[in-house]
């Protein structure tokens, strides 16, 4: 079923009217948004007659792609996580309605409000924001994720999320080793880093709701203002420092290496925003530890993407080139671990 099909539009309009308590709703336009091989996102213009949402509404419909085979959350699970994030006070596209009735679209989908701006890492890391705007943006990004981390297990609506065992770090190490074994290509640097991670793993394990893909590229900014945090499909119960480490990791600075917070701003501003909401000091060493984990994770994902190309499953220039990025993460691992070991860390 396609969103351009008049019958689908009709059914979708009826679903929206019912959910919005409206007399009727009409899909004025539906445009597929770029990005996402596993999910499809459509920008919808909807005219709602009557009820509390009467008028023209800009919404986003998110559903699975036809070929979507995913190890991440289902759309219904993602909707439940997004609702939790919204309730926790995060700036997210407001989740509206989940539809699990196959007669509408033929698959699960949910609707949220559309947010403006750009998520493009190139645009954001190279934008002409001044120092004050950069500081304000990363401070807010720190505060935002701290709001999410106030959500602690158990939460009955998130029954589907497993608690990582024995600890979040050891769970990840085990996971990445098994992925490397499945790829079958020896990667001594990644093994070296994983052994370091294992030996330096913390025994204590604070576990909170985490985004797990919190980085530049996954949030929208409009003229320097944060408008919404996106891409919730990897959300999990884990160590909150995993989100901070992923955000600050060198591999997510898009060449703006001197800006330690996502290639956008200063790490100290990011931490200050976090601390303002959490009420606790950020454990800098713990974040550095999870930055090492982040580089391993991205390297493993890059190897998996190259494998998809090499196996013929999905021949693609982008996937092929991603495979050749692995030595970038490997050198980062060698240099960052050496800096940690020698105590030569700077503020970046």
């Amino acid at each position: 079923m396609e969103l351009t099909d008049p019958e689908v539009k009709q059914a979708l309009g009826e679903f929206i009217a019912e959910q919005a308590g409206a007399g009727g709703a009409r899909i004025v336009s539906a445009r597929r948004l770029s990005g996402g091989a596993i999910q499809e996102n459509y920008a919808l213009k909807v005219r709602i007659d009557g009820g509390p949402m009467a008028g023209d509404q800009a919404l986003v419909l998110r559903t699975d792609a036809a070929s979507g085979v995913s190890v991440s959350l289902s759309r219904a699970q993602e909707f439940a996580v997004l609702c939790q994030a919204h309730q926790a006070g995060m700036t997210v596209p407001e989740p509206l309605w989940l539809c699990r009735t196959p007669s509408v679209l033929g698959k699960d989908f949910y609707l949220m409000r559309q947010v403006g701006g750009t998520a493009s890492p190139r645009a954001l890391t190279r934008s002409r924001l001044d120092a004050a705007q950069r500081a304000a943006l990363v401070e807010q990004l720190g505060a935002e994720i701290a709001h999410l981390h106030t959500v602690r297990p158990p939460v009955s609506e998130l029954f589907f999320l497993p608690i990582p065992a024995p600890t979040p770090a050891l769970h990840r190490i085990r996971q990445y080793r098994s992925y490397l074994d499945a790829i079958g290509q020896p990667r001594p640097v990644l093994e070296w880093a994983l052994t370091w991670l294992e030996r330096n793993a913390s025994e204590s394990a604070l576990i909170t709701l985490c985004h797990v893909d919190y980085r530049t590229g996954n949030y929208m900014v409009d003229q320097g203002e944060l408008t919404g945090i996106l891409d919730w499909e990897f959300a999990a119960w884990t160590d909150p420092a995993e989100d901070l480490g992923w955000f600050c990791a060198r591999c997510w600075r898009f060449g703006a290496w001197s800006r330690g917070a996502g290639g956008i701003g200063e790490r100290s501003d990011f931490y200050r925003g976090y601390e303002r909401v959490s009420g606790e000091a950020v454990d800098h060493d713990r974040v550095r530890y999870w930055e090492i984990m982040a580089a391993v994770r991205w390297a493993v994902i890059a190897l998996q993407q190259a494998q998809r190309h090499l196996s013929g499953e999905e021949r693609s220039l982008e996937l092929a080139l991603t495979g050749r990025m692995v030595p970038e993460m490997e050198l980062d691992l060698l240099m960052e671990i050496r800096r940690i070991e020698t105590g030569e860390l700077d503020d970046v």
Partner: protein, 130 residues
Amino acid sequence: MCDQPDGAELLRVARQCLLDDLLPALPEAQRYAARMCANAMAIAAREGDAGRSGAPSELSRLRALYPDLADEHSDPAQTQERLNRRLADDLRHGRIEAGIESDVFTVLTDRTRARLSISNPKHLSSWDSE
């Protein structure tokens, strides 16, 4: 021995043509793909150059680490794969001294720098400038 210009040189000149002559004529939506093509050609050209240079190979570094396992007569690609697998396995199980002062650390760093000099020299220089 190849005729001149060799493969690497052909890739370089083709890349220049792509960037200078073709890219400006493309609609915005296709430019990202064209830049990816140019990047792939640059990597392949550098890889071609590296194959002909006399720099110490990854294999010779691995052989120095495992002198007893390095069979001079077997196929170099197979030996490299075998030694890499052994090193990866030793590192996972902590069976080899691999602190930041060790020979292993030097081997890992050298091979990674060699690979990066082909796939992304800019990333390499990001560390050198610090």
